[in-house]
């Protein structure tokens, strides 16, 4: 049993997703407990896999017993096991949260929602676990297709945003597919470990350079890196709350993980650093991403839209960490994949809860929310402080490593960009906190009905299925910060390629 955990991570949600329509056809309200129960298994499995990796080092799982370059291999090392734990825990928490949100937003679409939800989780975890470049493409498309459908059931502008996402996402996936094709022409292999052995002799071949270019552009589109991010804000903003809470933390981060995988596992670090100047370009693009995302976020009055632009900026953080290509920077990038996933999940969960209770996402309508929803707003404030980078919240530590990395690489502008973005985040979040905590009632409103201002504001907290995930995530923000030293010394330092 224990040695099959790697397969269970994929197989259980995949098969369970097929059973959702059956269960929904029988009794609709059983879909929710079924999905939550099912998602516990990948979490336990990935924790067990991480434990095995930490004690005995990396191992591979052969699907169907076929030996690696021919069969498909699941590659479990420190990096993939670490990201698997992040993906499985966040998807479980969002699943728990989704109950009220789905009942409220999509009462007739519960069954397709949960089916697609499980398929999306399957795709994301498959991307992380697989050791085969073509298998990765298949999982990339599984997650993308279910993501398109989930976004399309969203609000007002959703179909148009989805269509744009489909067109651009398909270009990204097709570029990745072309990259695989070129690698296959040159090497005749699709297995990552096998490719890593064959490729060093071919590094100066033009075919390999073209393949690398296709991989970079395709994955940058999937990760939503500036200027390939245009699909991202509309699509993530139009999605239903429970969906954006799942895709905003995970989709772009998983694409960034694939970027790290391709650049540092399939290709050796020295190829990506010395032979192609890709990191200089990516680094500068991320600087633009950070500023552009931050400035666009400042211009928004819609809370969710503001967060979506912050996602664009956060992708820049991770890619900067990859681009400096040294131990510090990459440690920061991998740590930031985790921290950002937790922080973004928490923020989007809060926005969903606020929307559920008050029916608005307008920042200026959030007055007295601290009295109405004290726990939710406390969680929001903690995460906001973490986004700004105040210790001991986790956002501080990843930023610390990223900045150390840029300084070590001598890229002072990049370091300045990271610091500036902290300031932008401070303005962004304190604006929201001010509106929610400190602003008095609107004068016009006070004039119209003098008595209403003196009325006690009733506490109207989010339902428990929403509140518990939010509080867990907020606690996670603090705890991951406090234990980040331990996480780095026991997991991340082994996930960084040894040649750094």
């Amino acid at each position: 049993m224990a040695d099959q955990f790697a397969a269970l991570i994929i197989v259980v949600p995949l098969i369970a997703s097929i059973f959702v329509p059956v269960i929904g056809w029988w009794k609709k309200r059983l879909c929710y407990p079924w999905v939550v129960a099912v998602l516990v298994i990948p979490l336990i499995s990935s924790l067990s896999v991480l434990n095995t990796v930490m004690t005995t080092g990396k191992f591979s799982y052969r699907l169907g017993g076929w030996a690696p370059p021919w069969g498909i291999e699941y590659m479990l090392d420190h990096l993939s096991a670490f990201v698997l734990v992040i993906v499985s825990s966040i998807s479980l928490i969002v699943a728990i949260y989704s109950k009220k949100s789905v009942e409220d937003n999509l009462p007739e679409k519960t069954v397709p929602f949960y089916t697609l939800f499980l398929l999306l989780v399957t795709g994301l975890m498959g991307i992380v676990i697989t050791g085969d470049v073509f298998n990765l493409f298949v999982f990339l498309e599984i997650s993308a297709l279910s993501c398109y459908a989930l976004i399309a059931i969203g609000e007002e502008g959703a179909p148009m945003a989805t269509f744009n996402y489909i067109i651009i996402g398909t270009i990204g996936a097709c570029f990745y597919l072309l990259g695989i094709g070129y690698l296959y022409i040159a090497t005749g292999s699709l297995n990552m470990a096998d490719l890593a052995n064959i490729l060093p002799d071919l590094y100066h071949s033009k075919v390999i350079l073209v393949a690398f270019a296709f991989f970079t552009v395709g994955l940058a589109i999937k990760a939503g890196l500036f200027p390939m991010h245009v699909w991202l804000p509309d699509a993530y903003c139009a999605a239903p709350s429970a969906v954006s809470a799942l895709i905003a933390p995970l989709m772009t981060k998983v694409a960034a993980y694939v970027m790290i995988r391709i650049m540092f596992t399939v290709f050796q670090p020295h190829f990506s650093v010395e032979i192609v100047p890709v990191f200089v370009i990516l680094g500068w693009l991320s600087v633009f991403a950070i500023f552009w995302g931050g400035i666009k976020a400042l211009a928004q009055t819609d809370l969710k839209r503001m967060l979506v632009y912050i996602v664009v900026a956060e992708v820049g953080y991770i890619v900067i960490g990859v681009s400096v290509a040294n131990r510090m920077g990459l440690t920061g990038a991998i740590l930031h994949i985790m921290n950002d996933a937790v922080m973004m999940a928490c923020l989007f969960l809060v926005v969903g809860a606020v929307l559920y209770k008050t029916g608005t996402r307008d920042i200026h309508q959030l007055r007295h929310l601290n009295k109405k929803m004290p726990f939710t707003m406390a969680a929001f404030t903690i995460t906001a402080l973490s986004m700004v980078g105040i210790p001991p919240a986790c956002g501080f530590f990843s930023k610390w490593y990223l900045i150390l990395g840029t300084i070590e690489a001598g890229q002072w502008v990049w370091a300045a960009a990271l610091l500036c973005s902290s300031l932008i985040n401070a303005v962004l979040f304190f604006r929201v906190i001010e509106c929610a905590y400190l602003k008095p009632m609107e004068p016009a409103y006070a004039h119209n009905g003098g008595e209403t201002t003196h009325e006690e504001i009733q506490r109207d907290e989010a339902p428990l299925t929403m509140l518990v995930p939010i509080v867990i995530m907020a606690a996670g923000v603090i705890l991951l910060g406090i234990f980040s030293g331990k996480i780095i010394s026991s997991v991340i330092q082994f996930a960084v390629p040894a040649s750094f």
Partner: protein
């Protein structure tokens, strides 16, 4: 030069098709045309993969008389089936994408009563959505 083009004609055709698809996706205003462009783009990549499996003078990769595993198999006399198998998956993916895109287009048409992108943008600007 001409020999160079002709000797690698499969790559030229795939690149031309891919560019036609990319142009349609970016340049066309009609959403159905964009979708057709996407299909051409995907088909171009499928043709590229199929063509790289071909070997001159080779036959279909069905082994007859090699069932016992004693005789050596001359790999050069069989077409490489692996890229073709990969493309079966890619075709499935491409069909699923087209299906979702068409379903989305139905939603868009019901909402705006048109599939021209500029008209939709105008309607959205007018309604403020």
């Amino acid at each position: 030069m001409l020999d160079y083009v002709i000797s690698k004609y499969n790559f030229w055709i795939y690149i031309i098709l891919m560019m036609i698809g990319l142009y349609a996706m970016i340049g066309k205003k009609n959403l159905i045309k964009k979708l057709i462009g996407m299909n051409i783009f995907q088909s171009a990549i499928i043709l590229f993969y199929v063509s790289i499996g071909v070997k001159a003078g080779a036959t279909v990769p069905i082994l007859s008389g090699h069932g016992h595993g004693h005789e050596a198999i001359d790999a050069a006399s069989y077409i490489n089936p692996l890229p073709h198998v990969l493309m079966l998956t890619a075709i499935v993916v491409s069909i699923a994408t087209t299906g979702i895109a068409l379903a989305t287009l139905i939603l868009i048409y019901r909402k705006y009563n048109t599939l021209e992108e500029d008209e939709i943008l105008k309607i959205r600007k007018e309604t403020g959505a």
